[in-house]
């Protein structure tokens, strides 16, 4: 028995090095499902089990691996920050593939893996025979890969990659029912407003790269050389990203419009896991935040404001999913307040337990008729009588409409302008096939459109002129002899080049030029 344990011991300690499988497996499965869809192998009842089993297997394997790592961590201590490889490097700074396996990461990642596996299992039954079955499972896998990357990443660059994968998966799942214009409109809205948060994240990455020269979390934590002002800027940029992802004010409207997808996606994205990603990011940055107390104060203020907003809006909601989403935002806002007050352990525990409860509640949203019997208690009378606040709460304080007017519509207008630019100027300049006009009345066969076309036509005219002059008019003259000699040289060169050794040399020369 002891022999077996001693034999397994080195294996167990190395387990942490295999943690990259946790995001990699769902990603691989997403690719497999995606290629099955592209190759037309995803149709009919018979194709469903393979997709479902692959996804369930990948998420279960991730869960088991994480549980095993948890076990060894409890027994032999946290593996901590580990570098698994170098992604790319330039000069004295490098982007690495590293993981941060501490208590925070392992607990949240394990919970997420469990919820992920359960939701995959749930979706398999729930979406049976839906036209988008394979697409849904693929996006779910993509999301699971992304979120695990965020949770386990050892540096901010890798976390950003995961962050974006979650964003894309979320966008595509809000637009799951792409035939409904409301669903696609809301998907676009969520996408555009979330880019605000991405801008924050990118800015933070830029600051970190410039001032620290390393993206690693520990480097950020032990950022002694940083001045308070620099730390504040970095923290603020990250906070912006966190606010957008966790749908805190002023970004809240996107999540209230994101409930168009199937129930299980609403559960895992907006009820349970993704909505907490912002809070997780801040927990991860706790050492940095401690250097900028005023940012923490801002967090408390933002969190309190969001909590009030969500509480008021939640009171007037008449459909179950909206009511639940405001309840969720309310508690996520409280988690932000907790982080702002520096109670990170409480915040972590709150985050995990809240995510677990909301998964259950969202998945059971269709049971609302059965699980409740009476109307919840009304708010205090002074509030209940206030028509203005009531109207404002019902209209979500018009943030929704403001977001549309300030963010989405300008973006759409910009896209329209770009399109106009392309149609009016670039396309005519480049020219389109089939639109050619004759440039010369004498030669109606030559049709030309666009600038390159005209250039080509002009070049052709010049060459034709040359041909006229050189070859047709002056047979046997000096230029012709010169040309003949040139032709012979070229033939020799060609012969030589056809020899393998010279061919190889030519190829290598090409490479050298490219590199």
């Amino acid at each position: 028995m002891t022999a077996v344990i001693t034999a397994l011991l080195p294996l167990l300690t190395q387990l942490a090095d295999w943690v990259w499988l946790v995001p990699a497996l769902p990603l691989l499965v997403a690719f497999i499902i995606g290629s099955r869809i592209l190759l037309g192998h995803a149709g009919g009842d018979a194709a469903e089990p393979l997709t479902a089993n692959l996804a369930a297997l990948a998420s279960l394997a991730g869960l088991l691996l994480l549980l095993a790592i948890d076990g060894t961590a409890l027994w032999r201590g946290m593996p901590g920050h580990r570098q698994l490889g170098v992604w790319f490097a330039s000069g004295n700074w490098q982007a690495t593939v590293s993981v941060q396996l501490d208590g925070l990461a392992l607990s949240v990642a394990t919970l997420t893996a469990l919820i992920g596996w359960l939701v995959v299992r749930f979706s398999t039954n729930y979406l049976h025979r839906e036209a988008g079955f394979h697409r849904f499972i693929m996006l779910l896998c993509l999301f699971l890969a992304g979120i695990q990357l965020v949770l386990l990443a050892g540096n901010s660059l890798l976390a950003f990659v995961g962050w974006e994968m979650c964003g894309i998966a979320s966008f595509l799942l809000i637009g799951y029912a792409w035939q409904r214009p409301i669903a696609t409109g809301n998907a676009l809205f969520a996408f555009v407003t979330n880019r605000g948060g991405d801008a924050g994240f990118l800015l933070a990455l830029g600051f970190v790269a410039a001032w620290l020269g390393s993206f690693e979390w520990p480097a950020l934590a032990a950022a002694n050389p940083l001045s308070v002002a620099d730390a504040r800027l970095i923290a603020l940029a990250f906070v912006l990203a966190a606010l957008a992802k966790s749908a805190q004010l002023p970004f809240t409207p996107w999540i209230t419009r994101a409930l168009e997808g199937p129930t299980p996606s609403s559960a895992i994205f907006y009820g349970a896991v993704m909505v907490h990603a912002g809070a997780y990011l801040l927990l991860r940055l706790e050492p940095l935040l401690l250097q900028a107390p005023d940012v923490m104060l801002a967090l408390v203020a933002m969190g309190s404001l969001t909590a009030l907003y969500a509480w008021l809006c939640g009171l007037v909601q008449t459909d179950v999913k909206s009511a639940l989403i405001f309840a969720t935002i309310f508690q996520v806002a409280l988690i932000f307040v907790e982080i702002g007050l520096g109670w990170t352990t409480l915040a972590t525990a709150h985050l995990c337990l809240h995510a677990a409860w909301r998964t259950w509640q969202f998945l059971l949203a269709p049971s609302w008729l059965v699980v409740t019997r009476q109307r919840p208690a009304p708010p205090p009378a002074w509030l209940a009588r206030n028509q203005l606040i009531y109207t404002a709460a019902q209209q979500h304080f018009w943030l929704d409409k403001l977001g549309q007017t300030l963010l989405v519509e300008p973006t759409e207008a910009f896209a329209r302008d770009l399109r106009n630019l392309e149609e009016k100027f670039i396309d005519p300049a480049i020219g389109e096939p089939g639109h050619g006009q004759p440039i010369d009345v004498e030669r109606p066969l030559i049709l030309v459109d666009g600038l390159p076309g005209r250039l080509l036509a002009a070049a052709a005219s010049v060459l034709q002129l040359l041909e006229d002059r050189l070859l047709l008019r002056s047979r046997g003259s000096a230029p012709e002899r010169l040309l003949r000699r040139l032709g012979r040289y070229l033939q020799t060169l060609e012969y030589l080049l056809e020899q393998p050794r010279y061919l190889m040399m030519a190829v290598m020369a090409t490479f050298v030029v490219i590199l």
């Binding site: 939640g314 337990l353 409860w357 708010p379 028509q387 209209q395």
Partner: protein
């Protein structure tokens, strides 16, 4: 007529066209097109199609699949063409081709006509161009392009004004101004209107989700909406700056507002009713729910709900938003008449807009049209005219391509060769094509439906004929089991009869003739357990027995505590600022554990939690408060508690005589109600007993058995010539159609004498349920093939308890026919759970009075179920409620898709996915004379039968003769073969099969 009265009349008429679905807790099947029931079936469907554009038949492609798989034969189609009442069918078209042949060919060739571009592509990519028939068809149509009248015409200058006038004419008939503007501009103001309205509507109708209601709601919807709208900043944000002022200065009486707004919207008063109808249909779900609450004021929460308020706000928004759009569209504010003049003066622009919205333009033209539309103000008339000409040319070419395609398709179906076609003259070809296109979409659908129905009808008639000679009475049965008439119970009955040949079964509407209110031990309120049309006058309560009084106290205390905590958990975690976070952190761990268990072992988890719940609450022995001492003046509001002896005798006698159980009583008579249990399913009650208003029918069975066991009742029955021997005992149970389990009632009260017989029956019924579960599993894609009965039962238990399962069972998805007659008529037939079975003994009903009552009760219930499934299948988007997976419960009265959509009514796609939509075929074991007399007496039946909403047939009680009723031609004798496949038992026929199965004779079900 005064304005108010006239409006009340219009609103009453809206009830005919809007969905009549009650709040979703009380889902009862009904004919989706109930308002059109006064019209013959095909005409009603055409009318509904005109009104809301819904498909009213299955898509032709589905029918053609059935044709390819042999579910529709050529004979069926020919018979259907003959039956559809078309003229000149036997006229020759050319040579010896008859019109009927051409129509048949056009049905088989399909109506999917490619445009010019696709045809070009097909010719490049396939060997279509080499096909001689197609080549000659192209020649024929190309050569004659000039001689053929083109429908759009090459000159748009003439057609466009006429088309514009015809579109304007539609406003107020089957279009609103919104539809017209959407057609012109592609912008749908309904989207905006719904966004503005939807939250307010839901808040006003809410039955228990929102904690905070509109402070002004007690003054009605119009006042509440206005109170909010006056404070709303939305108008400014949405670039409607003057709207707030307009709203502030509105009159207080909604009727005045409605009148003013309608006048500004549409000056012609005669169109107002039609306009209001079209407008209500645009948000049919919300309108229907509002109307339902208006008509049923007692079912709400006290908030006044008036349809007038709703229509006022709706019309006001329509006017505001349409006028806004018109001023953006035309560059200046204008009303509907000015809009008419505006586009009448711009035929080219209209033509381009019209062509773009009718789709089918090639991409290049479509792009050009779109960019012109974007810059409509800056476009001059010449640009429009140029594009219009290009589009008109393209349409002409498309038409020629369509003709050649159509001609080639027809020739292929008719087997015409290139040589045959070469001899065809121009006129003949025109006549040929005209004949092939003489049917519109509705008529084609109707013919396909007739053929489809006929095919199944032939199979059923053949089965009945084949079974006729095998009829025999079971001599002294060991038990008699009365099931609900439900099509799902056909399977259970068949398996029971196979397992226990000595048992006889009966079928009846599942309220067992006891229309009553019921209040169970734990129920807060009374619920009506009877068909939706009946108003019960009695109430039966369940009470603890004397010995169970203390147990009951314990039970109530524990149960209330448990429910309070559950309520707290679900409501506080979303509502409370302090308690919410605390409770949700406490509940997080258990919730995750529960989710894990429910995912890994749903069946085990469901049964375990139920057991825990029962152990915690404690069980209470109960009895029914059944007997009233003396009759009291009872109403629906204050019903009489219990039935008097005479009332009990009446009900027992009427029911037993109705099902024909008047002698040969077995020792045990079991009444088996049914209901369905499933998890996480808003449409739960759609799976329950339709004869009990979408509730469980167990209590009715229990009440009936208790009545029939009472000594005074039996004595009185004997005096009326219906003697139940003392050796007979009535028992009751409820069949859960979800997990195929059976809950027995009052078993401890059964005297010792019947214990042995009861044990046998218990065993037999359990085995039958397992066999039935195996039969059900064949239709579930997620069930492994060829499960043993035990495994199948475990599978359905898991399925019914699975929170992730949108198809806990398939409900009535297989319903197709109904038999009213003795069970001998159908015993021994495999009917694939497709037939409602209603017991009726024609030999003791010479006057037809019993049959009349059965038809009146079962006819509407059966037709309601069949037609709701029919319409939800043929157009799930419009008549059904779409897929369950994005559903979101709203206000505890309905479901939306996501958080912003119309309220969805009808059946979800998961319930009708495998349904084969056809009208209910009712076969009655009685002579045509008696049936005719009944139809003549009963207007409700005339409506159903003479308008062909159901199809009636009569099987002679003593011979095998079958006659089918045709509303136009009366009774038509049926003739056909009587040969059917024969198998030992049901399992031999269905094992390994996943699709619907034809009837078969079961040899093992001997009697």
């Amino acid at each position: 007529m005064p304005r108010r009265q006239r409006l009340a009349h219009w609103i009453a008429h809206l009830a005919h066209i809007l969905p009549a679905q009650a709040p979703i807790r009380d889902f009862v099947h009904h004919n989706t097109l109930h308002g059109f029931q006064h019209l013959p079936f095909p005409e009603a469907l055409a009318a509904a199609h005109r009104l809301n554009g819904a498909a009213t038949y299955w898509p032709e492609s589905r029918f053609r699949e059935c044709y390819a798989s042999g579910r529709i034969s050529r004979d069926d189609l020919l018979a259907a063409i003959a039956e559809a009442g078309l003229s000149e069918l036997d006229q020759p078209v050319f040579h010896n081709l008859l019109q009927a042949d051409v129509l048949l060919a056009s049905l088989l060739a399909g109506d999917d006509i490619p445009g010019k571009n696709r045809l070009d592509w097909l010719m490049r990519e396939s060997n279509l161009a080499d096909e001689p028939v197609f080549a000659i068809c192209r020649q024929l149509t190309a050569a004659n392009r000039r001689t053929l009248p083109a429908p759009t015409g090459p000159d748009w200058r003439q057609t466009a004004p006429a088309r514009w006038a015809s579109l304007c004419q539609r406003v107020g008939k089957d279009w609103t101004l919104r539809s017209l503007l959407e057609h012109l501009s592609g912008e749908d103001v309904l989207e905006r209107a719904r966004r503005i309205l939807q939250r307010q509507l839901a808040a006003h109708l809410d039955l228990g989700v929102a904690a905070w209601r509109n402070p002004a709601r007690s003054r009605g919807f119009f006042a509440a909406w206005r109170a909010s709208a006056e404070l709303d900043m939305y108008w400014e944000l949405d670039e409607l700056p003057d709207v707030r002022d307009e709203i502030i200065h509105l009159p207080t009486d909604p009727l005045d507002v409605l009148h003013d707004e309608l006048t500004r919207l549409l000056p012609d008063e005669s169109l107002w009713q039609g306009y209001l109808e079209c407008l209500s249909l645009e948000l049919a779900g919300w309108s229907g729910m509002f109307l339902w609450r208006d008509r049923n004021p007692t079912h709400g929460d006290g908030t006044p709900v008036a349809m007038l308020d709703y229509l006022t706000v709706r019309v006001l928004l329509e006017r505001l938003l349409c006028h806004d759009l018109m001023s953006r569209l035309c560059g200046a504010p204008m009303d509907a008449d000015e809009l008419g003049a505006y586009f009448a003066a711009r035929p080219a622009e209209f033509f381009v807009r019209d062509a773009l919205r009718r789709q089918g333009l090639p991409e290049a033209l479509q792009n050009q049209a779109t960019s012109l539309l974007h810059a409509a103000h800056a476009t001059n008339e010449d640009d429009w005219a140029q594009l219009a000409t290009a589009i008109a040319d393209d349409l002409t070419e498309n038409e020629a391509a369509a003709r050649s395609w159509r001609l080639a398709g027809l020739s292929r179906e008719l087997g015409l060769t290139a040589n045959d076609l070469a001899t065809v003259s121009h006129e003949q070809m025109i006549a040929f094509l005209d004949c092939a296109t003489r049917l519109n979409t509705s008529q084609r659908g109707q013919i396909w439906l007739l053929a489809y129905e006929r095919h199944y009808r032939q199979q059923l008639f053949t089965a009945l004929t084949a079974n006729h000679s095998r009829q025999a009475r079971t001599p002294s049965p060991s038990a008699q089991v009365v099931f609900c008439m439900d099509d799902r119970e056909e399977g259970t009955r068949r398996h029971l009869e196979e397992i226990a040949p000595s048992v006889t079964t009966f079928g009846a509407a599942g309220f067992f003739g006891v229309a009553t209110y019921w209040q169970g031990l734990d129920d807060h309120e009374k619920t009506a357990l009877c068909p939706i049309v009946v108003q019960p006058q009695h109430i039966v309560r369940e009470q603890p027995t004397v010995a169970g009084a203390t147990a009951f106290k314990h039970h109530t205390a524990h149960r209330q505590k448990r429910l309070r905590w559950r309520e707290r958990l679900y409501q506080s975690t979303r509502r409370h600022a302090v308690g919410g976070p605390l409770l949700s952190t406490l509940a997080g761990g258990p919730a995750l554990a529960a989710l894990l268990a429910a995912t890994v072992a749903p069946g085990w988890f469901g049964e375990t939690t139920r057991r825990w719940r029962r152990n915690y609450d404690g069980e209470v022995p109960t009895q029914l408060v059944l007997t009233a001492e003396s009759p009291a003046a009872a109403t629906t509001e204050s019903p009489q508690a219990g039935f008097t002896n005479d009332e009990q005798v009446d009900r027992v006698e009427a029911f037993l005589r109705s099902i024909g159980l008047t002698n040969d009583f077995a020792p045990l008579v079991l009444l088996l109600g049914h209901g369905s249990g499933s998890e996480n399913n808003p449409h739960l009650s759609a799976y329950d007993c339709g004869a009990c208003s979408g509730r469980h029918g167990g209590p009715n069975a229990r009440i009936f058995a208790a009545m029939a066991n009472r000594q005074p009742v039996r004595a009185a029955l004997a005096r009326r010539g219906l003697s139940i021997p003392p050796t007979t005992w009535f028992i009751a149970a409820e069949h859960n159609t979800g997990d195929d389990g059976i809950e027995w009632y009052d078993l401890q009260q059964i005297p010792q004498h019947w214990q042995a017989a009861l044990d046998t029956l218990l065993g037999q019924l359990s085995e039958a349920c397992r066999g039935h579960a195996a039969e059900r599993c064949r239709r579930f894609a997620s069930a492994p093939p060829q499960l043993s009965p035990w495994q199948a039962r475990q599978h359905v238990i898991g399925r019914a308890n699975d929170i992730s399962q949108p198809r806990p069972e398939l409900g009535h998805a297989t319903n197709a026919a109904a038999f009213i007659g003795r069970r001998q008529m159908s015993r021994g037939l495999f009917l694939d759970r497709r037939v409602f079975l209603i017991s009726y003994d024609p030999s003791s009903d010479e006057s037809g009075n019993i049959l009349e009552k059965i038809l009146l009760a079962a006819g509407p219930v059966g037709a309601g179920i069949a037609l709701e499934y029919y319409f939800s299948s043929v157009d799930n988007e419009r008549f059904g409620c779409g897929s369950k997976i994005t559903h979101n419960i709203t206000g505890l009265f309905g479901v939306m898709e996501g958080v912003d959509s119309d309220l969805r009514t009808g059946l979800p796609w998961q319930m009708v996915e495998i349904h084969e939509p056809m009208r209910l075929l009712v076969v009655v074991e009685q002579t045509p004379e008696i049936l005719t007399a009944i139809i003549v007496r009963q207007p409700p039946l005339q409506e159903l039968i003479n308008n062909a909403w159901i199809i009636l047939a009569a099987k002679d009680p003593s011979t095998a003769a079958i006659e089918q009723y045709c509303p136009q031609r009366g009774w038509l004798p049926w003739s056909g073969d009587s040969v059917l496949p024969q198998v030992g038992r049901s399992a031999d026929w269905f094992t390994g099969e996943r699709e619907a199965l034809a009837p078969a004779l079961l040899l093992g079900a001997a009697r």
